[in-house]
């Protein structure tokens, strides 16, 4: 009875907290939750990362009504009866909402509502049979798949199977979750949650400052971790890795990077307009600052994952702009065209905004590698080289677009500039082509070494080759004089769609072949639309140009 009533008060306190939650302070006092090590998807991570990734999957954001992920996820187990009635499950797919007979005006639904939906389990069964037979999943079933993982992780946490917080005696063992703890361990876990409740309820009632500073919670967490170290396995996690991951999460280096790049780009634009030298140097400072932060973010990511950051789409989307800025900085040093850095900063901003806008499409979480990607110097090199060549093509694309704008403004006035730009594109494409060719060949050598075939017409390698052929055609055409300045600019824009296909399309549209470790879903319609707009733009410029003549 006593336990029950205690639980009830708990529920009341916590749910009332969440209903009228306004404290900004709570962020800092319960922050020590972030540092609890948990095992999740094959690696040890701080609770902070686990909570962010979970909330991202289930709710589609890393905050719920202003509450940080770690508070939200921790209370899923603490007060499941509250959360079961909160709209935390995001269902994006229109067709799925329709077939589940959900309210079409909404995107978020309560777990309760979905659990009571009889159709849902039926769809899960259909999905399972599709997965068994190995049929390709349509967009609809991909949505069902997401819903299934959303529901299963919510249920797992609610029932106490979600937080794998106590390690096993061996490194390879699966950690145990709350439901599997022994009596002592359970006590220690509840000490943590009691301390958590005490901390936030003190905040709410604004009692003495002393008990609301979160030290009680920190102590309980430390005790919990220490007990694991004495009872199960000493040093069962790497404290410094864990701390860096939390600070990486806090800092969001890539977000600041694109903000800096964007500011740099805008300053460059102002510089072009007002020709003020100070503007130029400030822009340069911003871009170099962004580049340093970018490199730092990469460094820390490599340190956390223990591998080069080129294993999935998200990571290449960060790597390519890094390459673009890098080339632009070097070429700027040599040729001082100003234009390249401007283009690079805009292109980089674009790439990196995409990653922060669509975390469900480009998964930012750190994940262990597939076996085939492990321990190979050549592998890493070929991916790095190929993707960095995309950086060069990206630059050419940017210059091409600027050329198009100048063609719109009037060709005659800007002849010199256009010629210069076409030359720059030619240079950039050369860099790109050499790198891409080298990368493709290195990939072939690596494939030969580890699979026994040099070239297998795998979609990824084939599309890389197609992109290479496209650019080669452009360069050869230029050499024999078929491709003039305008065609050079237009060509570098159109050929970039080949790069997009090789880079994004193979993984997200075709979804076939051996490079399956980078596959994903989503965003196809946006990318297709962007490419369509690009083609339209080039076509319009071409037509206008012809009619003017």
């Amino acid at each position: 009875m006593k336990k029950n009533s205690l639980f009830l008060t708990l529920v009341i306190i916590v749910s009332s907290l969440f209903i009228g939650m306004t404290e900004v302070k709570a962020k800092s006092v319960t922050e020590s939750l972030k540092y609890i090590p948990v095992q999740d998807r094959g690696r040890i991570k701080p609770f902070d990362s686990f909570a962010r990734e979970t909330l991202q999957l289930v709710y589609g954001k890393q905050k719920y009504k202003g509450k940080p992920a770690y508070d939200v996820i921790f209370t899923w187990y603490l007060v499941p009866d509250h959360w079961i009635k909160e709209k935390v499950i995001q269902v994006n797919h229109n067709g799925l909402r329709e077939s589940l007979k959900l309210d079409k005006e909404e995107t978020y639904y309560t777990p309760m509502q979905l659990m009571q939906n009889e159709r849902m389990s039926l769809f899960f069964k259909e999905l399972a049979s599709k997965q068994n037979s190995g049929d390709k999943l349509s967009g609809y079933y991909q949505a069902v798949q997401r819903l299934q993982s959303q529901m299963s992780i919510f249920q797992a946490i609610r029932m106490g199977h979600g937080f794998l917080m106590i390690p096993g005696p061996e490194v390879k063992d699966r950690w145990r979750s709350v439901a599997q703890y022994n009596e002592e361990e359970t006590k220690r876990y509840y000490k943590m949650s009691d301390a958590y409740v005490a901390t936030i309820s003190n905040l709410k009632t604004q009692e003495t400052k002393k008990s609301s500073d979160g030290s009680q919670l920190t102590a309980a967490i430390n005790e919990f971790i220490k007990a694991n170290e004495t009872n199960v396995r000493a040093n069962y996690f790497d404290q410094s890795l864990l701390n860096s991951e939390v600070s990486y999460n806090n800092l969001q280096p890539f977000m600041w990077t694109w903000i800096l790049y964007l500011l740099g780009g805008v300053l460059f634009l102002l510089f072009f307009l007002f020709k003020n030298k100070h503007l130029y140097s400030t822009a340069l400072v911003f871009i170099i600052g962004g580049f340093l932060l970018h490199s730092y973010g990469f460094g820390i990511r490599v340190y956390l994952a223990g591998r080069p950051p080129v294993a999935n789409m998200y990571e290449t989307l960060l790597w390519v702009p890094w390459g673009a800025i890098f080339f632009a900085l070097i070429l700027e040093k040599i040729r001082r065209t100003n234009l390249l850095l401007f283009v690079a900063s805009i292109a980089a901003t674009l790439c990196m905004i995409i990653t922060s806008l669509a975390p469900n499409v480009f998964d930012p979480s750190l994940q262990p590698l597939e076996p085939v990607l492990k321990s190979s110097f050549w592998l890493t090199t070929h991916v790095l080289i190929i993707t960095i060549s995309y950086g060069a093509f990206f630059l050419a694309w940017g210059i091409g677009n600027i050329m198009m704008l100048f063609y719109l403004k009037g060709e005659e006035k800007h002849q010199a500039f256009l010629k210069e730009s076409a030359e720059t594109i030619y240079k950039t494409l050369q860099i790109g082509i050499v790198l891409l060719a080298a990368g493709i060949i290195l990939g072939g050598i690596w494939a030969d070494y580890s699979w026994g075939r040099f070239w297998g017409w795998d979609p990824k390698e084939t599309w890389a080759l197609i992109a290479l052929l496209g650019y080669l055609a452009l360069l050869h055409g230029r050499l024999v004089g078929w491709v003039k300045n305008f065609a050079m600019g237009a060509g570098s824009i159109l050929a970039f769609s080949l790069v997009i296909m090789a880079w994004y399309g193979v993984n997200y549209v075709l979804g076939a072949g051996l490079h399956s470790y980078g596959f994903g879903v989503g965003g196809v319609e946006y990318v297709a639309f962007a490419i369509f707009v690009q083609f339209l733009f080039v076509a319009v410029v071409a037509v206008l140009r012809r009619s003017r003549k």
Binding site: W175, A437, I441, W451, R453, H476
Partner: protein, 448 residues
């Protein structure tokens, strides 16, 4: 330039085919199609002509020559690999040895018997994917006096077998039942065969067994080891059931069950219901064209023999009879035998902590009865001109590995391919270097 674009377009089509169907189809129909070969030949010839055209070569042509010779060398090397190289796979079961290498080609074989042993009448490589047979243009196999025709081919056929009741009293019985409760709902067939007098299926902690009355005492398998529901067929129209509980170590319930009857099992809230009962059953196999591949599809042929048409899937056997003769037709993988055996001593599977995801895998093998090696991802073994790569593995339902799959190849074109690659890389580096230093020379070139 047009050739480059042509190759690019054909390749693009190929990847779309690959995404829709599978790698093999794309390879056969696009990448190794006559069109592609023609384009590549054209490319080689053009590259050659362009080089001849620049004769006599000057120093500034170095990069251009290197890169273009490199491409030709690379293509020649690839062609040699394609024509004389071997690319197959070895299936190694734990603790067993083999020297058979399975090749990607299909072999159609026919065996004949006149009452005695079967002799091989016909064995030939076939490629129905590029050259599909049809009613109008069948693939003919002549068998002495008889003729067998293949008149249709599906590359992604689905085999479906279902049980039907028959009046032939020699055939064994079959039942279909449903187990259901709040936690599960499953429908399954259990069918005896001529050889198997007891069949069973496991559903979690519960086993369902079917047998026939007269066999029960002879066959120990019907004795329960855990929770069990035993169906015993009594005569042609009656089924008896017995429920055995491992916890109580006794039979908790027994009786006779009819079609549609529900029986409360006593295990959680599970009930069992008898859906079909055929005292004598026959398995009917049908094939359908699935058009696209999935885990269950395989190639199938429509065989026309003696006025009768029957579908036959890959790796299954079709028996044909005419007068006193019996024929066996099979469609299987082509294979070669190595001069030495390989034995899988141990398969080592590393997983990411706390998950079933493979982190690494490797095979400890003994080659030729003398050499002990470890073959792992990215660490192949070279032996007797062959190279063995760790390709994948097979696991049972519990996730334990049962067999290792190695890919094997012999590639005489490898040297040329590497040489070609080297030349291309040298050429493009030189090109780059050259251009950077002699910007003016390049500009002159452009204007030509």
């Amino acid at each position: 330039m047009f050739i480059i674009l042509g190759i690019a377009i054909v390749s693009a089509v190929g990847t779309v085919v690959e995404a829709q169907y599978d790698t093999k189809v794309a390879q056969t129909l696009v990448f190794h199609s006559p069109y592609m070969y023609a384009l590549l030949w054209l490319l080689c010839i053009t590259l050659f002509l362009v080089m001849v055209d620049r004769w006599p070569w000057k120093k500034r042509h170095t990069a251009f020559i290197l890169a273009h010779i490199g491409i030709i060398t690379l293509l020649v090397g690839s062609y040699i690999t394609r024509k004389v190289g071997i690319d197959g796979s070895v299936y190694l079961e734990s603790g067993k040895q083999t020297n058979v290498v399975t090749l990607p080609d299909n072999i159609l074989s026919v065996y004949a018997s006149f009452g005695g042993n079967y002799t091989n009448l016909f064995s030939e490589k076939i490629d129905f994917l590029t050259d599909p047979p049809s009613k109008e243009d069948p693939y003919k196999v002549s068998l002495g006096g008889d003729e067998l025709q293949i008149i249709d081919y599906w590359h992604f056929a689905l085999r479906e077998s279902r049980f039907v009741e028959t009046q032939n009293l020699k055939h064994p019985p079959a039942v279909r039942f449903q187990i259901f409760g709040s936690r599960a709902n499953s429908t399954q067939w259990l069918a005896l065969t001529d050889k198997k007098k007891v069949v069973s299926t496991s559903l979690g902690p519960l086993r369902v067994v079917l047998t026939k009355e007269y066999d029960q005492k002879k066959h120990q398998a019907a004795t329960p080891g855990g929770n069990q529901i035993l169906f015993t067929v009594l005569g042609d129209n009656k089924i008896k059931y017995e429920i055995y509980s491992a916890k109580k170590a006794m039979i908790t319930k027994r009786g006779v069950v009819g079609l549609g009857d529900e029986v409360v099992t006593g295990f959680m809230d599970f009930k069992i219901r008898l859906l079909n009962f055929y005292a004598h059953h026959e398995e009917k196999v049908t094939y359908t064209d699935n058009v696209y591949p999935n885990n269950y599809t395989k190639p199938a042929l429509l065989v026309n023999f003696n006025g009768k048409q029957q579908w036959m899937g890959k790796n299954s056997v079709l028996k044909l009879f005419k007068n006193d003769r019996a024929y066996i037709v099979t469609l299987g993988d082509d294979s070669i035998e190595l001069n030495f055996p390989i034995k899988l001593k141990k398969f080592i599977l590393g997983r990411y902590q706390g998950t079933m995801r493979a982190a690494s895998y490797a095979s400890d093998v003994t080659v030729d009865n003398k050499l002990d090696v470890n073959i792992s991802m990215n660490e192949p073994l070279k032996y007797d001109g062959y190279t063995f790569y760790q390709a994948s593995f097979q696991q049972d339902d519990m996730g334990n590995p049962v067999a290792s799959i190695l890919s094997v190849n012999k590639d005489p074109g490898r040297f040329l391919k590497y040489l070609g690659s080297l030349l291309i890389v040298l050429g493009s580096i030189h090109l780059f270097y050259n251009r950077r230093r002699k910007v003016k020379v390049k500009k002159n070139n452009e204007k030509k």
